[in-house]
Symmetry: C2
Subunit: 473 residues, 2 copies
């Protein structure tokens, strides 16, 4: 990286701010290949950090990792009608292997429901084979026309869980269980508050009976769908002819789920927590928790730097030392762009008083601490950063959620205030479409735990549901 340049003010141009942050923090870089991006070391390290926690959560809940083929023959994609209609327009087609034209073209997987079903048909024979709780980490491809780093790209790094169950109840439980695993992860590790709920018929996944999503609100009030969990019922299983013998030796069709999160979560991390100085990474997910910046090179400073490194190593706290021949100001700015949760400045003036300066990235608060106390104090500072970041995000989000009881109110809010709008809805897709057309706002998800007090916000007929509406990435 050369010099750290100014980052666009996020209140002036949020889109430009985002692009500045992802590139200047060294998360991604643009490739010469149209539509493709490069995930740079720091961006990939954040993904690895997310993978590590999530993978442990998946294993803890009994899931096993597998690796399915990357290519789907056209005839296999065509097996499930709704599914193929949803995905065929956006897949990459392989037509030649070496110099030979293939008998049947293959698409690069845009998602793997049909691949898992094709395999489950082979291995599920008896109730003893259920549940099957498989997950895979892989890259999928969707041929997007316009792309934005982490938010919309042709190649997506993700995980996809695909499970099969003996009963409807088991499959529904699994769908919600994994939704809650994601919620737990996003709340407690990413410090991102999420709204979870069921998608409307219009917005559900191609081929699913019910889709649930995690909806996070970005700094600009726009929604980012930050993960989904789907219940398929017996739809795919019937289409694929998957059957098992139950305990009474009778044939039954199993019930299916799938669920996934992607590197999109990195986009959410940036747009929920970032500020005009750059990234702010919550300690529990930061690949590097502490950046040590020695100021000057007198002997005391070098000795303390070495001491601190070995103490941090001993405690298993990840750190980096910036001892390049640059000014402290330059290093502080870069540390802020990268969003390391804590910066420790080691200066000779402080050292004469036996002190070090800790700087919190989230608040920029400076804390002078006796040098012997620094490592002991870190865990509580991390904890406090983690909690404060979540609370700040929650407060901001909640301040941008509005209620509209009629179309006039809806219009007034939608045209003047960024954020989500809660409203009642008749259940008719025409009303969803009208709101989409008028305000570019889609339904986010159903609100199931609140009373419906007014008529449909759009057509004024009796309401059946409550919904969040919001613009989306």
């Amino acid at each position: 990286m050369s010099e750290i340049k100014d980052i666009t003010n996020r209140d002036v141009d949020f889109a430009k701010w985002y692009t500045d942050v992802v590139t200047k923090a060294g998360l991604v870089d643009y490739s010469t290949i149209k539509g493709s991006m490069i995930i740079c070391p720091y961006g990939y390290a954040i993904w690895e950090s997310m993978q590590k926690v999530l993978d442990a959560m998946f294993k803890e809940t009994g899931h096993e990792n597998v690796q399915m083929p990357m290519f789907i023959p056209e005839s296999l994609l065509n097996v499930e009608k709704e599914h193929v209609e949803g995905f065929a327009p956006e897949v990459a087609w392989v037509t030649h292997g070496g110099t030979e034209k293939l008998d049947e073209r293959l698409c690069v997987r845009p998602t793997s429901e049909v691949l898992f079903c094709d395999y489950y048909k082979k291995i599920i024979k008896s109730y003893r084979d259920l549940p099957k709780l498989y997950n895979q980490w892989c890259t999928i491809v969707r041929w997007e026309k316009t792309t934005r780093p982490f938010l919309r790209s042709r190649e997506i790094l993700w995980q996809e869980g695909h499970t099969m169950h003996a009963t409807k109840e088991d499959a529904l439980n699994e769908t919600l269980r994994m939704l809650h695993v994601y919620e737990d992860f996003q709340r407690n590790y990413l410090a991102i508050p999420v709204i979870i709920g069921k998608k409307t018929e219009k917005e559900k996944f191609a081929g699913a009976e019910a889709s649930y999503s995690l909806e996070a609100m970005m700094y600009d009030g726009v929604a980012l769908q930050n993960g989904t969990s789907h219940y398929f019922g017996q739809g795919f299983a019937k289409t694929f002819g998957i059957e098992f013998l139950n305990k009474d030796n009778k044939l039954e069709t199993p019930y299916q789920t799938s669920w996934g999160v992607t590197t999109r979560m990195i986009g959410a991390l940036i747009m929920v927590h970032g500020d005009d100085r750059g990234l702010v990474i919550p300690p529990k997910i930061a690949p590097t928790k502490v950046i040590i910046i020695p100021i000057g090179d007198d002997e005391l400073v070098l000795k303390e730097t070495a001491d601190l490194k070995s103490k941090l190593k001993l405690e298993g706290i990840t750190y980096k030392v910036d001892d390049r021949p640059k000014t402290p100001g330059f290093k502080f700015a870069e540390a802020e762009v990268k969003g390391y949760p804590i910066r420790i400045e080691i200066g000779s003036r402080d050292l004469k008083e036996n002190m070090l300066t800790i700087v919190r990235r989230d608040t920029l608060e400076k804390i002078r601490v006796a040098k012997e106390e620094v490592v002991k104090k870190l865990p509580e500072i991390f904890e406090s950063i983690q909690q404060d970041m979540y609370n700040k995000a929650l407060k901001r989000r909640d301040s941008m959620i509005y209620e509209a009881s009629n179309y006039e109110e809806f219009t007034q809010i939608a045209t003047t205030k960024p954020g989500f709008i809660k409203a009642n809805w008749c259940g008719n897709e025409a009303c969803e479409n009208k709101i989409k057309e008028d305000f570019n706002m889609k339904s986010r998800c159903l609100i199931e735990d609140e009373e419906i007090t007014t008529n449909c916000v759009c057509c004024n007929k009796p309401a059946k549901y409550r919904l969040y509406f919001g613009k989306q990435y």
Copy 2:
């Protein structure tokens, strides 16, 4: 898995034995998609275990993970002539995105040298930017006609390191350093002895100046190339126009390396250590180190099973419990197919004497141990299994390496004895080709630390090199 069926005797039909083991141990399964395989949970767990150790080794040696695009435009693949000639015949071509024909077709990466060079051209400007030590874990595609699980497949899970250096010396050191990292891993974790050395001109990687490989010998005497490390000199860098300003502010071209290992290592693990009962996994790489088999369900047995589980958990020793309603004999057989390093049998007769029975998978030796001593004793047993497995493999391999000083001797050995043949060679490709044609044996790698005492084994002209020859997977 249904019943464990007999595994073909490995001395009767080694190929069939291999297929039996990979499928019956639950490592892979066949997909309905031609040329593709499914890596099942146990196979994938072994790969994860390998990844974890190797990834730590790469990071320890200063490498950073990134993720490059998956697609290479045809014009980019064509930039380096030798490289495209080597790979074009075996790539998968994407010609359509959704319903639109692409302006330029893209291949799915068969390896990523050109992608890294394309990116390095953008980010390497100064000597301060060097070295660049990047690695990526990903799937590559090579359009193989015939496939075998882990050994030859269309989709290959691997890692590929791609580095750039300021000097020739640095790049050569990196090439050899990573070769030794692989050797260390294979010797100390996989318990596989490997011969490392330089490939001949004929056998080197398309576009490289020098290729080094790790050559392991399988049970049947056939070689498996189990990893490679390449030195590219300035070839690609010049072709791509990558230049940096050196300390004297003059433009120079950097020096490049690449190195990779794949899921092929699982194939080697099977074919080096497996026996007629199935897999044998060395403890240091086994995803599950201990299988606990309670015999019967009397109270003492159940209590001891629970105790042992918590002790193993506390010690961080991975384990599984097989408490299915099956006979002990069935469970022992399955545990042997899966190759868990140690089986612990918990039976009421043993328990009456306060004992448990430990069975080593590698030797099938039964060790009766006082139950309080079991967990304490495990580390030394693991260590001893690990060491014994390596020594056994080494002894067998060394017993199958022969020396031939003329073509008659070579013919006699090549036609009667499986294994490797050491021989002297004039350096002429015609001799390599003749041996390949006559015996289907390729040169494996150069032997650099032994004296050349006779003429070329093939043409009898003065020899310049010593080589290993061997059949290969």
